[in-house]
């Protein structure tokens, strides 16, 4: 037994040396993300805010997304209760996924890269590496737990007790450790590292979906779910430590199983056989658009579904808006004075935010063509009858279509749930949401056009389009809170477009931005046609 783990401590130290930067970013990043939103929540909760939010959060759609709260009455829904309710599940998932990816990166991925052959040729035990990775990941998550607990307790808020803060951090850390253990098991079973990653994330996703169902129907069933042992600890309210003990038992069992499985497998192989792929190609692959559709399929589908879900989660709030307004005098006066309904105003802002996110998708599709080029995957293809025009326009058009799909998904997701949530008294129909969403489509087109221009003339600047996108997003996001001067606001392309449904549609602006975008795309083509394809480096 000792023999199997020989020199694991050396590997452990080696991992820490190799990874310390990553660990720093990980612990501080996730730590600040998990504990840093307290001031924002305080802001929301001013006046009758918590009461309004408590009502909103009773909505099954919200429970499906963030989970349940033990608070029975609005009075019990303190800052701490709300913070744990809205943040814990999500932060736990984040820790879980990061840990799972880390473990597979240091096990099967390194086996595939051939690094492990070299390590194992020294006097290193068969299972020393797995033990070292597991120890490292546990250490990272323990650090994370203390960082989160420390920051939360440091606010000195009465509802953020020391015990609750520590439990909140520990729940997230334990989620990470369980993610690592799950990944370690999958790393033994699956035929390749990508399959192990897929299976681990698949398990986490499946547990999340199952708990969404049981949280709504019968909360006690969620306690049978390993994911439930993290977010059902209810920090700041019930402070249940018991679930963490279950999680620890689960981890020990999973790690033991992983070690047993690892002891009997070959390096670089799993227990499941590698699935045989297609020996010949389907007809749908055999064209330039077929190829790029296949390459971009995953990202387009994932984003479109994400926009549907984001839209739907905002849409579910519409039913409670009137209640919220009744409980908040200042807000009510604001809306009565402006003569705009709270729903219309909210729609304008939310669609602006989601459409800015939608623009990421077409930019990613356009930039993909350059990353294919740099990775030399186009070399052989460029020596066939495929023209550069074909490559360029196929990708640019695919980006435009992806942008259309994303815009539609965000508007439909928001609109459909909003109309359902508002019920009979709905002040808007789905058409209003679609109109408001597609009103912003020229801005999506504009970002795609910038990416296309970069692709043609200076492809390494393609990534800079994301910076401008983030800048525009931030500007629009904070526009309501901070009073930017007019000229600063106008540096974001979205600011030129009126906000429907509050403001009327402006056909001239719509057409102008569309034409400018199309012109930039054509300009990008002229560059793409004449430039050197990247030499690799």
């Amino acid at each position: 037994m000792r023999h199997n783990f020989a020199r694991w401590d050396m590997l452990f130290v080696q991992f820490l040396k190799r990874d310390w930067k990553k660990i720093l970013v990980w612990v501080l990043g996730v730590g600040l993300f998990s504990a840093g939103f307290v001031p924002a929540f305080e802001e929301i909760g001013k006046g009758q805010g918590f009461r309004g939010l408590y009502e909103t959060m009773q909505n099954p759609a919200m429970i499906a997304i963030v989970g349940p709260t033990p608070a029975d009455r609005a009075e019990d829904y303190t800052l701490g209760a709300m913070y744990a309710h809205e943040m814990l599940l999500f932060c736990g998932l984040l820790a879980m996924i990061l840990s799972a990816l880390h473990v597979i990166g240091h096990t099967r991925r390194e086996e595939e890269l051939g690094l492990m052959d070299l390590v194992r040729s020294f006097q290193v035990g068969r299972q020393a590496n797995s033990l070292a990775v597991m120890a490292e990941t546990v250490l990272i998550n323990v650090l994370l737990a203390f960082v989160i607990g420390g920051i939360l307790a440091g606010y000195g808020e009465s509802s953020l007790s020391a015990e609750g803060s520590l439990l909140f951090g520990a729940s997230i850390g334990m989620a990470g450790i369980m993610g690592a253990a799950t990944a370690l098991v999958m790393a033994q079973i699956m035929p390749a590292s990508s399959a192990a990653t897929g299976a681990s994330l698949g398990i986490v996703g499946a547990l999340f979906l199952v708990r969404a169902g049981t949280d709504i129907s019968k909360e006690s069933l969620s306690m049978l779910n390993p994911l439930g042992w993290t977010y059902l600890t209810y920090p700041f309210t019930e402070n249940r430590w018991g679930p963490l003990a279950l999680a620890a038992l689960f981890t020990i069992a999973a790690v033991a199983a992983a070690f047993a499985l690892e002891g009997r497998r070959d390096l670089g192989a799993g227990y499941l056989p590698e699935r045989q792929g297609r020996v010949t190609a389907r007809k749908t692959l055999l064209s330039v658009h077929g190829l790029f559709l296949r390459l971009n399929k995953g990202v387009i589908l994932a984003w479109t579904i994400a926009f549907l879900v984001i839209g739907a989660s905002y849409g579910s709030i519409y039913g409670d808006m009137q209640t919220f307004l009744e409980s908040n005098d200042i807000m009510r006066q604001m809306f009565t004075a402006s003569g705009v309904s709270i729903e219309a105003s909210f729609t304008g802002i939310i669609l602006l935010v989601t459409t800015s996110l939608v623009a990421i998708l077409p930019v990613a599709v356009v930039n993909r063509l350059f990353s294919e080029e740099v990775r030399l995957r186009l070399s052989q293809l460029l020596a066939t009858r495929v023209t550069r025009a074909r490559l360029y326009w196929t990708n640019v058009l695919m980006a435009v279509l992806a942008g259309l799909a994303g815009t539609a998904a965000a508007a439909v997701g928001l609109g459909a749930t909003a109309v359902a949530a508002m019920g009979d008294g709905a002040s808007m129909d789905i058409g209003d949401f679609l109109a408001a969403g597609f009103n912003l489509f020229p801005s999506v087109l504009f970002f795609a056009a910038l990416a296309a221009l970069a692709l043609g003339w200076s492809p390494r600047l393609g990534k800079a389009v994301y910076l401008y996108l983030a800048y525009s997003f931030a500007l629009n996001y904070f526009d309501g809170l901070v009073d930017f001067p007019e000229w600063v606001s106008k540096t974001a392309v979205q600011s030129w477009i009126p906000r429907m449904p509050v403001e009327p549609f402006d056909g001239a602006v719509f057409a102008t931005i569309t034409v400018i975008s199309a012109a930039l795309m054509v300009l990008g083509y002229f560059g793409y046609r004449r430039r050197d394809m990247a030499e690799g480096a």
Partner: protein
Amino acid sequence: MSEVVIVRNLQKSFGRVTALHDVSLSVREGEVVGFIGPNGAGKSTTIRILLGILRRDGGEARIFGKDVWKNSLDIHRRISYVPGDVALWGNLTGGEIIDLFMKLHGGGDKAKRDFLIRRFELDPGKKAKSYSKGNRQKVALIAALSVDSDLYILDEPTSGLDPLMEAVFQDEVRKLKEAGKSVLLSSHILSEVERLADRVVIIRQGRVVESGTLDELRHLTRTTIRLAVDGDVRGLAAVRGVHDFRATGNQATFSADQEHIHHILSEAVKLGIRNIEAVPPTLEDLFMRHYEN
């Protein structure tokens, strides 16, 4: 014989770095031309200009009599290319990628594809990300050889193949030659070039330093001679055209300039030759000679 590829005084720089100073070469119909040089000498850059992937800064480059940049599409109809660094889409299988390339090239032969997959012992059902370098190269080779072309541009196509697969490759190139196809073969496996090429072009730091048939090139260099004589072998050391002379007892090894070979042998005959061996210079000798100084 008409010239399929003509390159004259080709120049190309990337920013301040000049990759090609002056490259001229030609490939005639039905001929295999070996294109050799160390890494970074400009082989792949020349080839990428021929494919219209890079724009040349100066000089002339024509394939089938057409300009490689302006008429690249017409040219691509009739050429096959295997890149030096084969990168494939990890999520597609080898079989899918071969089919895709065949379709995008046009004029593929399904039976030939299956035959080559068997010959190169490729598992076409595996995802490309699990292929080794050699297997990725097989995918590119099979795709290139399964379509009917008039010119095959192969950029170090065997650097990842094992000796058995290399033999299969050489056999396939011989078949192309018999069918009257032209091949531009860049390689640093010199024995392979020696076996296949009709003519050789040697490139160094962006300049062609030597080109011609192997025989022509051999005349420019020295033959290694080992002999044993009855007389005092050291007498040969001073003969014109003898270099690197080493003697043990009455045996000697030296290299001899081709143009003085007659004179050297006459002198040796006077000493009474008991035994003689002449080793022609290998391509490697030729190659090293250009790079050692």
